[in-house]
């Protein structure tokens, strides 16, 4: 059941009804809502044109697809796909690279923080 690009993500249906590797049936409008806010944040109008958003989404999906394919090519030599492959691909693009390392370190920090938090909770539980 394919519905035309509605803003509502009904990708769940698409995901379950077909194997993900074989068919590349992608619902349009997957990132629409987020992209609208993002484009506003980056300089577009508060209400960007829907055609513009759709076009940007298409471009982004194509970009991610190409990136992922290239990463896969690189990763296949090593065996499996890893984050390193993506980082290698954007190594020339310093702002992106820095941003990604920042995101990864942030994620680590948060993981540590959560772990520490849980440990504390356990301690509290055992004390009482």
């Amino acid at each position: 059941m394919s519905n035309p690009s509605a803003g509502t993500p009904s990708k769940a249906k698409a995901g379950s009804s077909q194997p993900s590797e074989a068919s590349f049936k992608r619902k349009r409008g997957v990132f629409q809502k987020d992209l609208q806010h993002m484009m506003y944040g980056f300089g577009d109008d508060a209400n960007p044109f829907p055609e513009t958003v759709t076009l940007v989404e298409d471009i982004v999906v194509e970009y991610v697809t190409d990136l992922a394919h290239k990463a896969q090519d690189i990763g296949s030599k090593r065996g499996k796909l890893s984050v390193e492959d993506f980082l290698y691909l954007i190594r020339k693009d310093t702002p992106k690279l820095n941003r990604c390392t920042e995101l990864l370190s942030m994620q680590e920090e948060l993981k540590q923080a959560r772990k520490a938090f849980e440990v504390d909770e356990e301690k509290l539980a055992t004390l009482e």
Binding site: M39, D44, F49, E51, V61, D66, L67, A113
Partner: protein, 228 residues
């Protein structure tokens, strides 16, 4: 958790929302000229600027360490960053950029921790002077993100492998967001060159995409995409 926010940043943003609205004077915004260049610069900073600002900022923001700096400086979006400036430049056509260079130097050193007090203080001063409009745009910039679940689904469908780790999803979302930023900024530049205004239209995006391809920022397909 949205990847563009961490607890410290969230606290900062909340703190920023509370200070009184900045007086809507264009003079105030003169102080924000430095902003563009200062941010946790994830590397280069460029400015998305209108034509008249362009020459002013362009010379200042050509940081030595900026690798991809071409004749058209671009605005790179890191977390606490000059997207604001994009908003600023759109709102005001004139502002000084005297203090920029010193600020640029300061911000160029990479701060490992996101909770650097000096940087926070700077951001606070900048953000406290925002107009409502700017603040709302900045907030959109910070909070917006591509959904990790959607991205993961997309990656699974592309690679055919189910083993997409969380860091990978986060990284790809971040890369995609910055790519959107590049597109939108370049589209704005195209618009100013064509002297058009209003919301961005698909033709601008296409032109921006074409230019990005020429600059080599878009990965090229080794095999032609025949059946779309």
């Amino acid at each position: 958790m949205k990847q563009s926010k961490d607890p410290f940043e969230a606290a900062l943003v909340e703190q920023e929302e509370s200070p009184p609205d900045s007086p809507v004077g264009e003079d105030e915004l003169n102080n924000q000229a430095p902003n563009e260049a200062q941010n946790q610069t994830d590397g280069g900073q460029n400015m998305l600027v209108d034509d008249d600002d362009y020459d002013d900022i362009g010379s200042n923001s050509k940081n030595p360490s900026h690798p991809s700096s071409s004749s058209t400086p671009k605005l790179h979006f890191s977390r606490a960053n000059a997207n604001v400036v994009a908003a600023v430049t759109k709102k005001n056509k004139e502002y000084d950029d005297d203090e920029e260079e010193e600020n640029v130097e300061v911000e160029l050193s990479k701060f490992p921790s996101s909770v650097d007090p000096a940087k926070m203080a700077k951001m606070q001063t900048i953000l406290s002077q925002f107009t409502e409009d700017q603040m709302s745009r900045y907030e959109s910039f910070r909070r917006s993100a591509l959904q990790k679940s959607n991205m993961r689904r997309l990656l699974v469908s592309i690679t055919g492998s189910q083993k997409i780790s969380l860091p990978m999803t986060i990284v790809v979302c971040g890369i995609a967001k910055m790519f959107v930023g590049e597109l939108v900024e370049k589209a704005r530049m195209v618009m100013t060159e064509r002297k058009e205004s209003g919301p961005i239209r698909p033709c601008h995006i296409r032109e921006a995409y074409r230019q990005l391809k020429l600059e080599g920022k878009v990965p090229k397909r080794s095999v032609q995409r025949l059946f779309r």
